[in-house]
Symmetry: C2
Subunit: 170 residues, 2 copies
């Protein structure tokens, strides 16, 4: 966790440079991609620690479980599409989940290259425990925002993602 003990110092520091710097100097703290990254990492780390401590899964593994628990049966390729993760990350997450008996992998009759992945009974049980935890964390995280701000945030993130995907930023 690279925030925490240093945060007060950082705030003080940011405050000082806000006051004393010439207006035309670009400050990292004003750079929106930077803020997005810092906030996102803080949120992700916080949640990842919780998943790890309680269920022994990392974020890619949890994402795969969340999608499988929601949809049912998917191939790795479909999981890649559903989670926006790298196919290697999906492959590794699936391998771990299969080894732990949380996911079952059976041949795909209509395509010999792929397999069908599905939660086992034990996987569904963990899914039933981990989803309320995730929802609870989301709720407590979003407590600080009004309903309008929550809607705004979702809309804005969608717009930004589409912009990065479609537009030549460079």
């Amino acid at each position: 966790m690279h925030f925490g003990c240093y945060f007060l110092l950082a705030l003080d520091f940011a405050f000082r440079i806000t006051l004393h710097m010439p207006r035309d100097n670009a400050r990292l703290a004003d750079f929106l991609p930077y803020r997005l990254s810092v906030t996102s990492n803080a949120v992700s780390n916080r949640i990842a620690v919780e998943y790890r401590a309680r269920f022994g899964v990392n974020v890619p593994e949890w994402r795969v479980m969340a999608v499988l628990g929601d949809v049912g049966s998917l191939t790795q390729r479909q999981l890649v599409g559903a989670t926006f993760m790298d196919k290697v990350a999906v492959n590794r997450a699936c391998k771990v989940l299969v080894d732990r008996g949380l996911v079952e992998r059976r041949p795909n009759d209509s395509d010999g290259r792929s397999h069908i992945l599905e939660l086992t009974a034990s996987g569904r049980e963990m899914h039933g425990q981990i989803m309320p935890l995730a929802m609870g964390m989301e709720e407590r995280l979003l407590e600080c925002l009004t309903a309008a701000e929550q809607r705004n945030l979702r809309k804005i993130l969608d717009k930004l993602f589409a912009q990065v995907r479609d537009t030549d930023i460079s």
Copy 2:
């Protein structure tokens, strides 16, 4: 880049599960920390590729240069506070920048443990080139948002960060 060729399929997939899934099922695509992470990673990767291609620096190195160029002279400890990066990341970034002649490190007279880091002439020159690029990318990224949405986003990210920092999410 783990989005791109799979994106259309992902959209289609998300669309299908939106339509056909029971309402009470929690979907990963609705989970805000997930969306935040996907968007942030997409933005960061896109920008990182640009820095790498044009200046041969990675994100930690760029952050250190941005702060040094803005503030002047700092110790590694102050850089940690200013960038929210890990002290190891700051140390490595500084080492690389010193080796490349972009940053000068001189003893700190008032504290024998630390050194003062400062951009060299060549470092200031790169800073002068890289900051407009960063600002331009930010501008083109934010083109998709209204002025009100941009203000909202900054406010919301601040609130979220404070929430993660101060509140017990688990």
